[in-house]
Subunit: 271 residues, 2 copies
């Protein structure tokens, strides 16, 4: 069964997309075509979207689903008049919350992802720049300024996780790739070791690591299963000595890994 | 007025945090303390959270607000029994959606940000790696493989926007910093120019640019207002010749800029 879904907003549409996407994940037997429609902020754009909804309805032989966080009543009325299953995701919570807080809502649109707190926004952008400048262990002398330091072997997922932590939570996240040299010495460089209180080890299943490395350097010793198994085993020994929490990226997304890091979950090391 | 807000989930909590944060933005007269609580997936953790809620209530002299997307009924009941204004953000939409689709919900938790579609997830991670490898114009020969190329002067917001586009939408986003050399020649390198159909120009208010550059190199000619004004003016001339859409990052967040890029909004060039 095919159904088209529109995520609609007068601004970025991120809230509608996030909650709408969560809701769809509860119905995995349906084949959803997802269409992201931010900045539906004029009557003309709303009418054009109604035409697209009709096309989708004809194609799917079922009306499309429209998830929206629309505060503009005129545009909301146009969209409701279109051929769709209209789900407003925001309005239903505003009145109860207003009653609880004892203050009226501002009714201003687009505040959620705008720069309403410049200090907070600057902190996030600075954190992104920090993550970029401190990727791949290039500046261990900067680790003293980091909030979090991820360690793990090459291709264990350090870089995307650091970027996510910085972008979403404004954390200054650095990472250090453990290399053959570190294994041989049995320890990390002093500046890296000194950051162990804010350190998380990333591990990954050797078979999965082999697949990822094969894409990067096909047929290389670096991508061989024996080398991957060796690297992961040595990394585990290092994590044990450092006494750092270990997270496994094999089946977990960067969102899941990041949420665990934020909680400071101490996952027991699986050896 | 102070109020504490908990974003609670049995998995990442991203949905609760996103919608909850949107709702709070409607009440800017209230001073919210926001606490992110992912992985509340045991009765013990739920009880510990109830204690934290009571502490917040005592401190604020008002019960905390709890935004959640909790599918586990046992844990939901524990939290509802705590001293809080409990707002379930998910459940209310599941039944109407199920009726519309004619299929029951899976009731499985944590699907929204898990790796349920490995192909899609790999595409995102590849896009992040592409953005990292193609930052700051280091490989214009790769622009042919990009979905989007951002151009603009140094510190106009290209890097964070590329990372956001790659992380959230799986777009292969590259960027090129326009330099004095390009201005002098009056054109961009051939490989950059060839990407103009998928190009967006980023501009920024010269005063704001000066502030950002001052943080990087205080007192430098690079950060002077005259230099910033010159760079922005020359960049505008370049954007005109290229006939690319221009977006202004002065007062817009990376989320807002990215949403406009996704829409392919053709903003008229403001000169």
């Amino acid at each position: 069964m095919k159904r088209t879904v529109f995520f609609v907003s007068e601004s970025t549409g991120i809230t509608a997309e996030t909650l709408g996407h969560s809701l769809l994940s509860q119905f995995d037997s349906v084949d959803f075509t997802q269409v992201y429609m931010p900045y539906i902020n004029t009557a003309a754009r709303a009418h054009a979207l109604c035409e697209r909804m009709q096309e989708a309805a004809d194609r799917d032989r079922a009306r499309p689903i429209l998830f929206t966080t629309m505060l503009n009543q005129e545009i909301a009325d146009i969209l409701k008049g279109g051929h769709c299953f209209y789900q407003e995701l925001f309005e239903v919570f505003v009145e109860p919350l207003s009653a609880e807080l004892g203050v009226p809502p501002s009714r201003k649109a687009g505040l959620s992802h705008a720069i309403t707190k410049p200090g907070m926004y600057t902190k996030r952008i600075d954190a992104i720049n920090f993550a970029m400048a401190n990727d791949d262990g290039v500046r261990p002398d900067n680790f003293v300024h980091a909030d979090v330091v991820l360690v793990g072997v090459s291709r264990s997922g350090k870089t995307p996780t650091c970027l996510y932590l910085s972008m979403h939570f404004g954390l200054r996240a650095a990472n250090y790739p453990i290399t053959e040299e570190d294994f041989a010495r049995g320890e990390l460089p002093r500046e890296v070791w000194q950051a162990r209180k804010k350190m998380f080890g990333l591990t990954i299943d050797p078979q999965r690591l082999k697949m990822i490395r094969e894409e990067r350097r096909p047929g290389s010793e670096y991508a061989s299963l024996i080398r991957c198994q060796h690297d992961i085993r040595e990394a585990h020994n290092m994590f044990k000595r450092l006494e750092v929490p270990v997270l496994n990226t094999t089946n977990q997304s960067i969102e899941e890994i990041s949420a665990q890091i934020l909680r400071g979950v101490k996952t027991p090391l699986n050896t």
